[in-house]
């Protein structure tokens, strides 16, 4: 169909770095490493202060709270990002929508401390709900909660807070879009490369794009740079050939490959925290939550007083679980949720089993 050719021409211009530089994401959400570190420190300081004030206000000793370090906050956020694969799967989302949700989530916790929003799963659900709307992939709140195990009230309450934390820049650009553009363009620019090689380059690179969400790449590099890095990680030979064909100016070629290499280095040393470490941070995080601390103290007191079993059980069920997907399962149908956490833990973020399957439903 003629309309199809018109829009594939258009897809290529999206890869344009120039257009990206006009985007609100670039203006509001890209940093130098120094700026990024300063931003995180500020957020961590805010969180620390928030915890202190909330404990004082509840007449509790702030020293009871085990404050998270900048690194621990980041570990927790990245761990949650790796859980997003599972949510995307139960909702059967195209990777564009998933990417938007994860980018929302990362931006949210760049300016908000996990010590303030100490139930990151709720935020993650809200980011997904908002992303489905922002990307025209609508679910009613009831459907959404049914599939993900999210709690409607939590999501609706947080929705505006998330929008606000995004500074209302609701258009999130991920590396999937330019990657698709490069994939199409390589086929015309390097006609001698067999289609199967280009195909596996694309599939491999998609996995690295997925992995990039566990790094700071989205704050430090542009989406085209990240997608080139993902291609470089998969097949450096063809990627370099492609860049040489596209960039006749050696200075431009060198500058681009240098930047891309920095991103490659980042993608190649993603270390995933152990489950134990994350649970340990989760424990600390719960100690920062004044309500949970109050509940814990009350429970201990009741236990000491040897009160009746009924009350005790009630409080037990309110005591939060480790911060992973199972957390929110308690109030909602277990089936959808169970599959969400199962798939999250088996596929993890680095290797979506259905990378090529989801490519066919890709929205952008």
């Amino acid at each position: 169909m003629t309309s199809a050719t018109a829009s594939s021409k258009a897809t290529k211009t999206v890869t344009d770095d120039d257009i990206y530089r006009q985007s609100s994401q670039f203006k509001k959400w890209s940093f130098t490493p120094t700026q990024l570190a300063a931003r995180r420190l500020q957020t961590n300081t805010n969180g620390r202060e928030f915890v202190k004030q909330s404990f004082l206000a509840a007449d509790l000793d702030p020293a009871m709270a085990k404050i998270l370090s900048v690194d621990e906050e980041l570990t927790m956020v990245n761990y949650m990002c790796s859980q997003s694969e599972g949510i995307a799967q139960v909702l059967n989302l195209p990777s564009k929508v998933k990417a938007t949700a994860v980018l929302f989530f990362k931006k949210f916790f760049l300016i908000n401390s996990v010590m303030v929003y100490s139930d990151p799963v709720k935020v993650l659900h809200t980011c997904f709900f908002l992303a489905t709307k922002a990307e025209n992939h609508f679910f009613s709140i009831n459907q959404f909660c049914k599939y993900t195990g999210a709690v409607a009230k939590d999501v609706l309450q947080l929705e505006f807070v998330v929008m606000q934390s995004m500074l209302f820049s609701l258009s999130a650009q991920s590396a999937y879009t330019p990657l698709h553009g490069f994939y199409l363009d390589i086929q015309t620019s390097l006609p001698h490369v067999p289609a199967s090689t280009v195909g596996s380059l694309y599939d491999g690179a998609r996995k690295y794009v997925s992995l990039s969400f566990l790094t700071d790449a989205n704050f430090l590099f542009t989406p085209p740079q990240i997608s080139l890095a993902a291609m470089m990680c998969t097949n450096s030979q063809i990627t370099e050939q492609y860049l040489r064909v596209k960039m006749s100016d050696p200075a431009q070629f060198n500058l681009t490959t240098k930047l891309v290499q920095e991103c490659v280095d980042m993608l190649q040393k993603v270390d995933k925290p152990t489950k134990e470490y994350v649970q340990e941070i989760g424990k600390k995080l719960r100690s920062c939550d004044v309500e949970k601390t109050k509940a814990r103290l009350l429970k201990r007191k009741l236990k000491e007083q040897g009160e009746g079993d009924a009350k005790k059980q009630k409080l037990d069920s309110e005591t939060p679980q480790p911060p992973d997907m199972s957390n929110s399962a308690s109030t909602e149908p277990a089936s959808a949720e169970a599959s969400a956490s199962a798939s999250a833990s088996t596929t993890d973020a680095s290797a979506p089993a259905s990378a090529s399957a989801s490519a066919s439903t890709e929205q952008s």
Binding site: T2, S3, T13, L130, K133, I141, Q363
Partner: protein, 310 residues
């Protein structure tokens, strides 16, 4: 944070009401600049923040152009979301209907030029507006035309992804949408602009269909019934009618009669914008280079355009 944003503006009085929003006029306290506050109605959308508000915010954030309405801020008051927009007291529909105002050729040209520039910018950013009509082309106090209402807008999808054909107010709906096309292009907006062009010249809607069936008939009557030859794939579009009335394409002579004041270059652009086959329709980029925009009379200067309030 939210309260601080809200405190930057005053909300003075209600100036209008649409289906989903109430609009107030107010001021930016610091600068005394007049602004409009568009407050999304409560209870219209039980699934959290209204979709069209999300679309509008999302796209207006990305578009900064002299001919597209500026989104200045967003805040909530209680459960209600408010958008702070630049104040644009007049719209093209109002001007068209105001028979006391005479449109000169240069006025129509100035509005068409501004609308095409604004739309070109949207299309460059891969954004489809999908609801262009005179009522959504607002006029600033200084006479500048601005495209508004991005509640139906969306990003251009991949060639393989389907979109809904039920967009654009009927009278301005392109034929491919009338036939239920699930794959379409920025050309749908160009069609709307072409119909607005006709309306500016005639001071009457050019294809005022009474329902979707009548819209197809009126479109064919105005532009001729296309054939499979002129538009390959036409008859296999999902909602292409089983039987259609056959009308001839209007001759140049016929068009000159319908638009007696228009110049040849003007009619040429109008025809290019309203090609039935979307693949043959001009893009905004091409439209901007049309001789119509450079020939005499020149587009009217802002200071001399009707509809200014300053």
């Amino acid at each position: 944070m939210n309260d601080a944003v809200m405190a930057k503006y005053t909300k003075d009085k209600k100036v209008g009401e649409g289906t989903f929003a109430v609009v107030y006029v107010g001021k930016q306290v610091k600068t005394d600049r007049k602004i409009a506050i568009k407050q999304i109605k409560e209870g219209e959308f039980k699934d959290g923040v209204d979709m069209s508000a999300i679309r509008e915010i999302k796209f207006l954030q990305e578009i900064r152009h002299a001919n597209v309405i500026e989104l200045i801020d967003v805040f909530t008051a209680g459960p209600r979301l408010s958008m702070v927009l630049e104040f644009l007291p007049t719209d093209l529909e109002g001007l068209i209907k105001d028979t006391k105002i005479l449109f000169r050729l240069g006025d129509v040209k100035a509005w068409m030029l501004m609308a095409t520039r604004g739309l070109h910018h949207c299309h460059r950013l891969q954004i489809l507006h999908r609801d262009l009509k005179p009522n959504n082309l607002l006029i600033s106090p200084t006479g500048e035309l601005k495209i508004a209402d991005f509640g139906l807008a969306r990003q251009m999808p991949n060639p393989k992804d389907k979109m809904t054909p039920t967009v654009v107010t009927r009278w301005y709906r392109a034929p491919e949408l009338l036939f239920g096309a699930r794959y379409y292009t920025p050309a749908v907006d160009v069609w709307s602009l072409g119909l607005i062009f006709a309306e500016l010249m005639l001071r009457l809607p050019y294809c005022p269909g009474e329902d979707d069936i009548d819209q197809i008939d009126k479109t064919f009557r105005a532009f001729g019934t296309p054939t499979e030859e002129e538009w390959p794939g036409l008859t296999s579009l999902p909602a292409y009618p089983k039987t259609v009335n056959k009308y001839p394409h209007p001759s140049v002579q016929e068009l000159k009669m319908r638009f007696s004041a228009a110049t040849e270059n003007g009619l040429e652009l109008f025809q290019a914008m309203t090609e039935l086959n979307p693949a043959d329709r001009v893009s905004c980029e091409e439209a901007l280079t049309a001789d119509y925009f450079t020939e005499f009379p020149r587009p009217t200067k802002l200071a001399e355009l009707p509809g200014r309030t300053e």
